[in-house]
């Protein structure tokens, strides 16, 4: 089932006098249950693409259709709601709200969704268990390692039961052991629970785990390989 469709997507940033064409006419679609890496050299447009899919940025031209909704037509506040209900995010670093514990961070989105306290607590504990952090549920982010923080971020991204999870270089700040660990968790979630992951990366070890690899260069897709 197709859940994301990008049609002739373009993004131009205006940097003073100069126009930076970060995304140049991309057509792509993603299916439910994918485990996809977006790769490419620095400045090629990976982050821009993920931000556009995630509704964090507006395209200069083209359409983004998620589950039959053209998110370009949504107003800012409706778009925020849409993100909350449909998309999970994992950023490169500092994902978490520093004043909340791991558990509270995971509960945060469910709270925005208006879930009951019981449901929130149960699900948060369950998710933290899945990412192997049952022992650290009451720790604040500053007390967790980078890898543990990213695992909490994955748990949080899952909490809202999103249609897919976007992760922009989730392992960039991690050592190889933490990287492997995070990837294993993501892969397991993808296999066992059919969670869709779309992530960007520089790291060849991460690329190797992906089942589909989309390569971008200079704002264009240069290859799209499904293993």
């Amino acid at each position: 089932m197709k859940i994301i469709e990008l049609k002739n997507l373009n993004k131009v940033y205006h940097e003073g006098e100069i126009d930076v064409h970060a995304v140049r006419g991309i057509d792509l679609s993603f299916q439910q249950g994918e485990f996809t890496a977006i790769v490419g050299p620095s400045g090629s447009g990976k982050t821009t693409i993920l931000n556009l899919i995630g509704g964090l940025d507006n395209p200069t031209d083209g359409d983004i259709i998620i589950d039959e909704v053209n998110i370009g037509n949504l107003k800012s506040s409706a778009l925020t709601d849409f993100r909350m209900k449909n998309i999970g995010f994992v950023f490169q670093a500092y994902n978490l709200i520093p004043v909340l514990t791991a558990k509270e961070n995971v509960e945060f989105i469910m709270h925005l969704q208006g879930k009951s306290k019981k449901e929130r607590t149960e699900r948060a504990l369950q998710l933290l268990k899945e990412v192997g952090l049952s022992e650290r549920v009451n720790s604040r982010p500053a007390k967790l390692s980078g890898g543990q923080q990213q695992r909490v971020a994955v748990a949080r991204a899952l909490a809202s039961k999103p249609k897919f999870i976007l992760a922009d270089e989730p392992t960039a700040n991690l050592d190889s052991e933490s990287t492997a660990n995070l990837l294993d968790i993501m892969e397991k979630l993808n296999k066992d629970e059919n969670i869709t992951f779309i992530f960007s990366t520089h790291d060849s070890r991460v690329v190797n785990k992906a089942r589909r690899v989309v390569t971008v260069e200079d704002g264009k897709v240069v290859s799209d390989i499904t293993k």
Partner: protein
């Protein structure tokens, strides 16, 4: 909602030092503003008290020519009928008739210009508390010698010797002048009062005696039981002269009056000055007076104006001029007004400085949290909710600061109100020369408290505009990139 409070609460404490500095700057602003304001209002109250409440009244009724030419010739009719017309106004508390004019007082070896004032003893006491101002202690050498025998510490005796010939009507002032601690006061003041007691009598109806003010008694070296000779000019050039027995000495809070006033019973003084007119058929005598001083129950400007209008309507005579105290006492009213404006300006400046300080911390806080705010909005938190959290934080900080500023000020206000600071030295001298009691009391709690609360709320709301706008304008992409 509860969770927003939780996040806000933890945010407040994540940078403890900054929050505490912000709180303490608001706290000090509130505290200083309250104390400054209380001092100011308190000193106005004390001025108004010693000039208006305790003497001239909130409304003065006089002969229409009296303000321009305040001689005895411009006296006006005194009658029970007029008094009851004034008293029939709901807001009127007391009506005090007075006849007042200058004369010379002679004792054995001194003379001095004085103000001879005829009063209704009972009504005058209702208004000015004159009975309480009767001297009950006079420190004489004889008294000090007696006190010496009674195991009173040497220091206190020495201090007593420095205040020989002083009069006291209030233990608090005696305690203050002798610099006694509470315990000392409890132990020694009764002894001092026993040996330095001063016997006085207040004026009765139709009394022929007089009360003289303490400053004057000291100057003329007169005591109760002595006689005093007064001479002056009476009504329409009639000469006035009389010998009066001194029944009491009064210590007046108004230092100017304390050096010059002699009180007599109204009728007695009317006869002294010959202030009465006789009808053509010699059947009716109309007595005259200078002023009806009127005290009111409600003393705000509006009530004064309304009461004044009602009095004018009731008296219904164009021979009288009815004025509120601000009209009758323009100098004092203007002095208070301009001083008050300066004070308000000072407080506004204080608040502006604090407002910029608070704005600074809020801006720093917003800048520091760009990234996490970006994350929060990215994962689906509405900007309005984020703004709510920041608002709760600021509200909490300012609420704590405001409440503690108010609470800490409370004991100061209570103490400073009950035990006003008595000025000494030049400052006191200056106040006395302006005719005020040299005290700096703090005003009791009042609307100036609500003013500060409102000011702080307004400032916080103003300061909040910027961060709320910047949250509203926050671009997720930029915020996430840090």
């Amino acid at each position: 909602m509860k969770d927003f409070f939780k996040i806000a609460w933890r945010n407040v404490w994540r940078n403890k030092r900054r929050s505490l500095i912000t709180m303490s700057s608001i706290f000090f602003a509130v505290f200083l503003a309250l104390i400054m304001r209380s001092f100011q209002l308190g000193s106005y109250e004390s001025m108004i008290n010693s000039m208006v409440e305790m003497y001239s009244g909130y409304i003065q009724i006089e002969n229409k020519d009296f303000p321009e030419d305040n001689t005895i010739d411009n006296s006006s009719e005194y009658s029970e009928n007029i008094i009851s017309k004034i008293e029939s106004v709901e807001n009127v508390k007391t009506v005090v008739p007075r006849l007042s004019s200058f004369s010379y007082a002679y004792s054995k070896d001194q003379s001095k210009g004085i103000l001879f004032t005829g009063i209704n003893p009972q009504k005058e006491n209702e208004m000015t508390g004159l009975i309480k101002q009767l001297v009950n202690v006079k420190i004489t050498e004889q008294a000090v010698n007696n006190i010496k025998q009674k195991n009173v510490p040497r220091e206190i005796i020495n201090k007593l010797l420095t205040i020989v010939n002083n009069y006291y009507s209030d233990d608090k002032i005696l305690k203050f002048d002798l610099e006694l601690s509470n315990d000392e006061a409890r132990e020694y003041i009764p002894i001092i009062k026993k040996y330095a007691a001063y016997k006085n009598e207040y004026l009765k109806q139709n009394d022929k005696g007089v009360l003289i003010s303490a400053g004057l008694a000291k100057y003329l070296k007169l005591d109760v039981g002595d006689s005093i000779i007064l001479m002056g000019m009476g009504y329409h050039g009639v000469s006035a002269a009389g010998k009066f027995k001194i029944k009491g000495i009064v210590l007046l809070p108004n230092p100017k009056l304390n050096d010059m006033i002699i009180y007599g019973e109204l009728n007695n003084v009317q006869h002294y000055f010959s202030t009465y007119t006789v009808s053509d058929d010699f059947k009716d005598t109309t007595f005259l007076l200078s002023t009806y001083a009127v005290n009111l129950k409600n003393k705000d400007d509006e009530s004064i104006a309304n009461s004044r209008d009602e009095i004018i309507k009731n008296i219904n005579s164009d021979l009288f001029l009815v004025r509120g105290w601000k009209d009758a006492n323009k100098e004092l009213a203007n002095q208070i007004k301009s001083d008050n404006e300066t004070g308000v300006l000072m407080i506004m400046l204080l608040y502006v400085v604090i407002a910029f300080g608070v704005l600074g911390t809020v801006l720093m806080m917003i800048a520091e949290r760009q990234r996490e705010m970006g994350v929060m909005i990215a994962v689906g938190m509405k900007k309005t909710k984020l703004a709510l959290i920041v608002s709760i934080e600021m509200a909490f900080i300012s609420f704590v600061a405001l409440v503690s500023g108010i609470l800490v000020s409370v004991p100061f206000i209570i103490l400073g109100n009950i035990f006003p600071i008595r000025l000494k030295g030049e400052m006191a001298q200056m106040m006395i020369s302006y005719g005020f009691e040299p005290v700096m009391p703090l005003a009791w709690f009042g609307s100036y408290y609500t003013d500060q609360v409102i000011s702080v709320i307004v400032i916080v709301l103003l300061v909040m505009i910027y961060p709320l706008i910047s949250i509203n304008r926050l671009e997720i992409i930029k915020a996430l990139r840090g």
